[in-house]
């Protein structure tokens, strides 16, 4: 019996199942942790404490919040386009889960090392936009609609520099597999060779996750809550969960591509990986609690007139230098 199970676990399908369960667990724990961290960091940056009553340092607070959201009545506004409205919060999870499959947490800790790993992530992350558009359109709310439209324009604009910033690394590593890219950084992190690409990627990543200063789709002072204005209870929590997981994914890819992934002395690989990723997550949170929001046209101008030409230039120079 036990042997059978071990055998099953050793097989490819079994590995996939265990991996998926692990990913799901990680997604939830990560999101809970990040909501806590966000509030705590925001608190201290504003000279206050943040959550502190539930559990030591308020650590249990996210669980209490999750319970509250679970216990809420699931409201469906009368005029919503039901299929779209119901599907959107579920669909937003697909790219999140798929991205985790290819991220190497450690040399041997990866659900599947697909040789076009980065393409999988970039291709699937576009689905996020689709679900945001569905949420905005299906809600039959003008604020939601504007939020969704903004989100689409923003994501299309920022996906390009993001891709263009990752390409030089792919060229340097000569591979699309994430594990190989990490292995290639044994001596030197790519951030040293490609600092501009790193900065462009990071800015585009912040914009992709709809975080301040690029949080236009949910700009609360203009659009109330943007595309999830009409969502409440657990459906709202799913959007929230996806948002925080996306932050982690963006940071994890940045760590993998530019900061040497799980490479590092003394400590085990996974610790290095998480350390680097969460450091970047901290920076993203830090940005949010420092800056005001940019305006819509400025955001698009910045991407099309600033980031994309710069990323192209960087790509050309890298390509040229590699040829020599």
């Amino acid at each position: 019996m036990v042997n059978d199970l071990l055998k099953l676990a050793g097989s490819d399908a079994g590995k996939m199942v265990i991996g998926l369960v692990g990913v799901l667990l990680f997604v939830v724990v990560n999101a809970l942790l990040l909501t806590w961290a966000e509030r705590k960091i925001a608190g201290h940056m504003q000279r206050r404490i943040g959550p502190k009553e539930v559990g030591p340092f308020g650590l249990i607070q996210p669980i209490a919040d999750a319970l509250k959201l679970l216990g809420k009545e699931i409201l469906t506004p009368a005029k919503v386009d039901k299929p779209l409205y119901y599907l959107a919060p579920t669909l937003i999870f697909v790219p999140v889960l798929v991205s985790f499959i290819v991220i190497p947490f450690d040399a041997s800790l990866q659900v599947a090392d697909i040789n076009v790993g980065i393409l999988v992530i970039l291709a699937f992350s576009s689905i996020t936009i689709l679900s945001i558009l569905m949420a905005g359109w299906g809600s039959e709310n003008k604020y939601s609609l504007i939020g969704a439209i903004r989100s689409v324009a923003q994501n299309i604009a920022y996906e390009i520099p993001m891709l263009l910033a990752l390409l030089p690394v792919v060229m340097l590593a000569n591979s699309l597999s994430l594990r190989e890219i990490v292995e290639k950084q044994q001596g030197l992190w790519f951030v040293v060779i490609q600092p501009l690409a790193f900065i462009i990627y990071f800015i585009a990543g912040v914009a992709e996750t709809n975080r301040t200063p690029f949080d236009l789709p949910e700009a609360e002072s203009e659009l109330v809550a943007g595309y999830h204005t009409e969502y409440s209870g657990m459906r709202f929590a799913l959007f929230f969960l996806a948002e925080y997981t996306n932050i982690f994914i963006v940071s994890a890819i940045a760590a993998t591509f530019f900061l040497g992934g799980y490479q590092g002395p003394v400590l085990p690989g996974i610790v290095w990986f998480l350390l680097k990723s969460y450091l970047l997550v901290f920076v993203i949170i830090w940005l949010r609690w420092t800056y005001p929001r940019v305006r819509f046209d400025q955001l698009l101008n910045f991407a099309w007139k600033g980031l994309i030409p710069l990323a192209f230039l960087n790509l050309l120079i890298t390509g040229g230098l590699l040829k020599i």
Partner: protein, 524 residues
């Protein structure tokens, strides 16, 4: 200025009989009576002379209604009261909204409260009241609303149009700071037309005043503008002191200045925080609250309250300041001077903030005059009009401070002006503390029951948001016969529809925030 003006009016405007009045007694320099057919000539004269319409109000004297137009110039105070008597049975007057944009709302307000019909006004719809009224609330006798007026008073309803859609910014919306509703006609992200809808916080303070004694109305003043409660308090006590000719001891004057300036800093700080929150930055909000808390602690120590202070009394103060207050104020001033560099780094220098605010909502000088805007919004257009200096009251004339002005009239200018005003307020407080005289804090022999002589007075003060004017008519009873509040936010909001035309939704929020609106003050 006044003499020359009187001569000129006599020469230029047919049949006008301007008389000079004592400014110290009345609060205006010159009064003149006119008739409906001559009104447009009089108004045209003032328009040509670059006067702005300060206030337009109506008083019901039972046997006649009196419309009062107050005209003034920005840089040299010369307030002219133009009175127009009309028949209460058939209250009709010509509209001056074509000449003065600020009259547009004032005339609507008078129409719904008094039933005066302004001929030539483009839209006589409700401004404050909703769902129909059966009689005009401010009339002294019960006058029913005729059915044709009921239809006219129908409140704003957006129609259906192709390719555009309507958005309700409010009444519950994060960036309207209260219950203001703005109906926006949108073309995508661009605003085609903006129409503010008021009255969600309408409490009819002006009617309340008619049913109360002068003392009893005192607590109401702070409830109108809860962020600049001291200034409103000060304006009211100054008006009543002018009406009853009550002298104020020097110590009280200086304490009033210190308290009002502290409150001004408090209000501007809150504006900085709330405005940055509008633009998406939430941390400055908490930082300004930290500073604001220090002021509130100091003021609570003397006034006993943290928001609606009600600290001033006719002839003086509620109670004297103690050493603790002076030490607390000194400590705050010292702390505040060192905080500006932090705001400079976090906000003023920030490239995102500058890009969001530069060149947005630009106000030209002429536009500012037509709409009668005041306060930092007016000064951003480059007009150095600060009533503390130009129409000095209390003991401001003995203190040194600057009037910060902007050059572009955009939103960034209003921000910079408010920051500079805080610095100037600190200077005023320092000087007032140094000069603070001893002696009584309350005038002797202020009667418990005030019975002022018959007549009217006007009193202005510079609140954090701009010019506050209080017009009181006394009929020798112990309460006001009529009290009109000319509030700064009301005039400042009037310019919003014009500024918002054709801008992005995000800019509209930035413009709306820069006006520093306090909704209970607009709605009264």
């Amino acid at each position: 200025m006044v003499n020359g003006l009187i001569e000129e009016i006599k020469a230029r405007v047919m049949g006008a009989e301007p008389v000079e009045v004592s400014y110290t007694e009345k609060g205006y320099h010159c009064a003149l009576e006119t008739s409906p057919d001559k009104l447009s000539g009089v108004v045209g004269f003032f328009d040509e002379k670059r006067f702005y319409l300060e206030c337009l109000l109506c008083t019901d004297y039972t046997d006649y209604l009196e419309l009062v137009y107050l005209f003034n110039t920005h840089l040299a105070p010369c307030r002219v009261k133009v009175a127009l008597k009309i028949d209460p049975e058939h209250p009709v007057a010509p509209s001056i909204a074509a000449q003065y944009a600020s009259a547009y709302w004032y005339e609507r307000e008078i129409h719904e409260f008094y039933g005066v019909l302004f001929t030539g006004h483009p839209n006589m719809a409700y401004l404050f009241l909703h769902n129909g009224i059966d009689h005009y609330p401010m009339r002294k006798t019960k006058v029913p609303v005729p059915s044709e007026d009921q239809a006219r008073l129908d409140s704003f309803k957006p129609g259906e149009e192709e390719d555009t859609f309507f958005i309700n910014l409010g009444p519950q919306h994060p960036s309207t700071h209260g219950v203001l509703r703005v109906v926006l006609k949108m073309d995508g992200e661009y605003i085609e037309r903006a129409e503010p809808v008021l009255g969600y916080l309408h409490r009819m303070h002006e009617k309340m005043a008619e049913n109360r004694t002068y003392q009893q109305f005192l607590p109401n003043t702070g409830r109108m503008d809860y962020l600049g409660a001291m200034s409103f308090n000060l304006g009211y006590v100054l008006a009543v002191e002018r009406l009853c000719a009550i002298p104020v001891p020097d110590r009280a004057k200086f304490v009033r200045i210190i308290a009002t300036e502290l409150n001004r800093i408090c209000s501007h700080l809150l504006w900085v925080g709330a405005y940055l929150a509008d633009l998406g930055a939430l941390t400055p909000f908490l930082f300004v609250f930290d500073d604001r808390e220090q002021i509130l602690d100091v003021l609570e120590g003397v006034a006993g309250s943290r928001l609606t202070y009600c600290y001033f009394r006719f002839g003086g103060l509620y109670n004297d300041v103690d050493d603790e207050f002076i030490a607390g104020t000194r400590a705050f001033v010292k702390r505040m001077w060192s905080r500006f560099s932090l705001y400079e780094k976090l906000v003023t220098g920030n490239v995102i903030f500058i890009n969001r605010t530069r060149g947005i909502g630009t106000i030209a000088k002429e536009q500012a005059r037509k709409y009668g805007v005041s306060g930092p919004v007016l000064r951003s257009a480059g007009i150095a009009c600060d009533l503390r200096k130009i129409e000095s009251y209390s003991a401001y004339d003995g203190l040194e401070f600057d009037i910060p002005v902007g050059g572009h009239g955009d939103v960034l200018d209003t921000y910079k002006i408010r920051i500079a005003e805080m610095e100037n307020s600190l200077r005023i407080i320092e000087q007032a503390l140094a000069k603070l005289p001893g002696g009584p804090f309350m005038a002797e022999k202020v009667p418990k029951k005030l019975k002022p002589p018959r007549g009217d007075v006007y009193q202005v003060v510079e609140t954090p948001r701009g010019e506050l004017g209080i017009y009181i008519v006394s009929d020798e009873s112990d309460g006001p016969f009529r009290m009109k509040w000319r509030v700064p936010s009301f005039s400042n909001l009037m310019i919003f529809p014009e500024l918002a035309q054709g801008v992005l939704l995000a800019d509209a929020v930035a413009i709306l925030g820069s006006l520093d609106l306090v909704i209970p003050e607009i709605d009264r």
